[in-house]
Symmetry: C2
Subunit: 346 residues, 2 copies
């Protein structure tokens, strides 16, 4: 941190990490000497390694085995040492193909997630976009299923449909329902879902008598449906890929990891963090803030619709993952999904 590395040390650190990533075993001075391309003897390299260890960039698991990168080492690596491969063009177009053949936002997201996990052989995560401030309200419908059960259907301009069944206390006539629907459709058409939600909320607070009773209930139901439409989801796939990775050998560790996937809340929070920044984001080990992700890294990128960031996607794998392979995949996927969702919308 204090002293910036001289270029020889950089090269050695880079080679060491690459070597460790591909081999999985601690790297010793001899292998480093042959691999780094510098004409140095193992002894010299040992001196440099000692320095790197002092700086906290690498460490040795035991008194005498090779060195492995520390978290700080990885950080430096991905920040300034890493050379990313650009992606195979045919793979890109294949990805694009698979991605855009979902007519529907849900399909696009699901495809993206599954592709991502397949390409990286890691676990993939895609957050369902916040549509609130982007997607506009188109129309709402109240369908009477039986005497007291009413189905509310919310349709957004982009074709997303949200629906929910309510058990109302009393009977509603068809005409009441039609009237309610007309009211909403006239009042709110064209506004964004978020706006409508807020307006409805205000409406309810006013506890107004200016509204008929029947309207009140309708507003309440609509409010709930809108509230759910915010329902931020998360699509996870390829979790089981992580079981093939020897680093995670411990079933105990795996279990905790899978719990994270199960709850989703934590993951969502993590993805939210990287919503702010553009481009690819990397959380290494503890940086994510979750103990279960101790030996994992998370590579994320956010995607946008109509030039606004609306969601994030990423992959989760062992800290010892091939960043140079994974980063471009995540990057490209984010861009493609942006395209697929934007094009879809008009």
């Amino acid at each position: 941190m204090a002293t910036p590395l001289n270029s020889r040390a950089e090269i050695l650190l880079k080679t060491l990490i690459e070597q460790y990533i591909s081999g999985g075993a601690p790297v010793g001075s001899r292998t480093l000497a042959t691999q780094a391309g510098l004409e140095l003897s193992p002894a010299t390299i040992r001196n440099v390694m000692a320095e790197l260890e002092d700086m906290g960039l690498i460490r040795s698991p035991h008194t005498s085995s090779g060195r492995v990168p520390t978290q700080a080492g990885y950080r430096l690596f991905v920040d300034s040492l890493l050379s990313v491969e650009s992606m195979d063009l045919s793979t890109v177009s294949q990805l694009q193909g698979e991605l855009t053949d979902g007519v529907d936002q849900q399909h696009v997201i699901a495809n993206a997630s599954s592709m991502l996990s397949q390409l990286t052989q890691l676990a993939a995560v895609v957050s369902v976009p916040r549509r609130e401030e982007i997607s506009a309200f188109r129309q709402i419908e109240f369908v009477r299923l039986s005497a007291k059960r009413i189905l509310v259907i919310l349709i957004a301009r982009d074709g997303q449909v949200q629906n929910r069944v309510f058990d109302t206390g009393r009977k509603y006539s068809d005409s009441e329902l039609v009237e309610a629907a007309n009211f909403f459709n006239a009042e709110f058409a064209g506004r964004t879902l978020g706006e409508v939600k807020r307006l409805l909320l205000k409406e309810m607070e006013r506890d107004s008598e200016s509204m008929q009773k029947s309207m009140r209930v309708a507003v309440e139901m609509a409010q709930q449906v809108f509230a759910e439409s915010q329902d931020e989801g998360l699509v996870v796939s390829g979790e089981s890929n992580l079981m093939d990775i020897p680093d995670m050998g411990d079933v105990k560790t795996l279990r905790r990891l899978f719990d994270v996937f199960g709850t989703k809340r934590d993951l969502l929070h993590l993805l939210d963090q990287s919503m702010r920044c553009e481009g690819v984001n990397i959380f290494i080990g503890r940086e994510s803030g979750y103990e279960a992700l101790e030996d994992c890294s998370v590579v994320t990128a956010s995607y946008e619709v109509d030039n606004r960031i609306v969601g994030t996607l990423g992959v989760i794998g062992p800290t010892r993952m091939s960043y140079e392979r994974v980063i471009p995949i995540v990057d490209i996927t984010a861009k493609l999904i942006s395209g697929a969702l934007s094009g879809d919308n008009e």
Copy 2:
């Protein structure tokens, strides 16, 4: 198989299996002597155990360790030796509560699955009901999203909503869409989804000119939505519970197991098999027909809506699971879910 067991052998087999299930370790003659309640010496019991081994009901992992049940042993056990506990009443009512607070079929199913896995601490599986022949068509709507994009919404009488976006080749006027909707709603109201699907299929085959062109496309779109409505789903939860079970220690084995959960097709097939029979069904180890389920058992029960079997639920765990605890849970859940879905429907 040939010779039915005498009662002493039965008791010993039963105790052995119970002992093995609770302890997880091979059971020897001494422990069996103290646990079985019979006044017999270990030596005598050894003789009986030898017989049981000859019959293929138990085996010893090594020349000299205790015995463990074979698949055939488990089979006999669950078929005729098992005494199931009846369930704690408070648990039942709690279950019922949690189950019925989902207004919506999807919620009920999801709740059932999660409850099932929580109660058993195993992986749970619930198949989404075949609604085709039960659920009636209520109405269809065509919403124009943009010039050539049309949203088709299918509403069933029970409140299920199915929707899909189509990119049509040409523009449709609002009046055309209204006309199409009216046609469907008048023609098919009240019929079951399955019926409508078949009728539409026939309609399309006729390639009739009696229909206007616009109708043809509408029929086609409707057909596709109906086809998707058949979309048999599967809700899985608690997979990660299996990682806590020491029997499955092997990550390799777990991985294959998780692959089964991932593909779902195989699971669905398995659940289908037990749709035919009423009551609780048990597949032990290989009986399920899947190699990945080698050391697992599947306990299933089907549930019904309006006295017709429409789906199946079950749990998957190690063959060495506590059947006497699991069976009643699966049984009750199936009954409760039947109730919850039937009551919901009118």
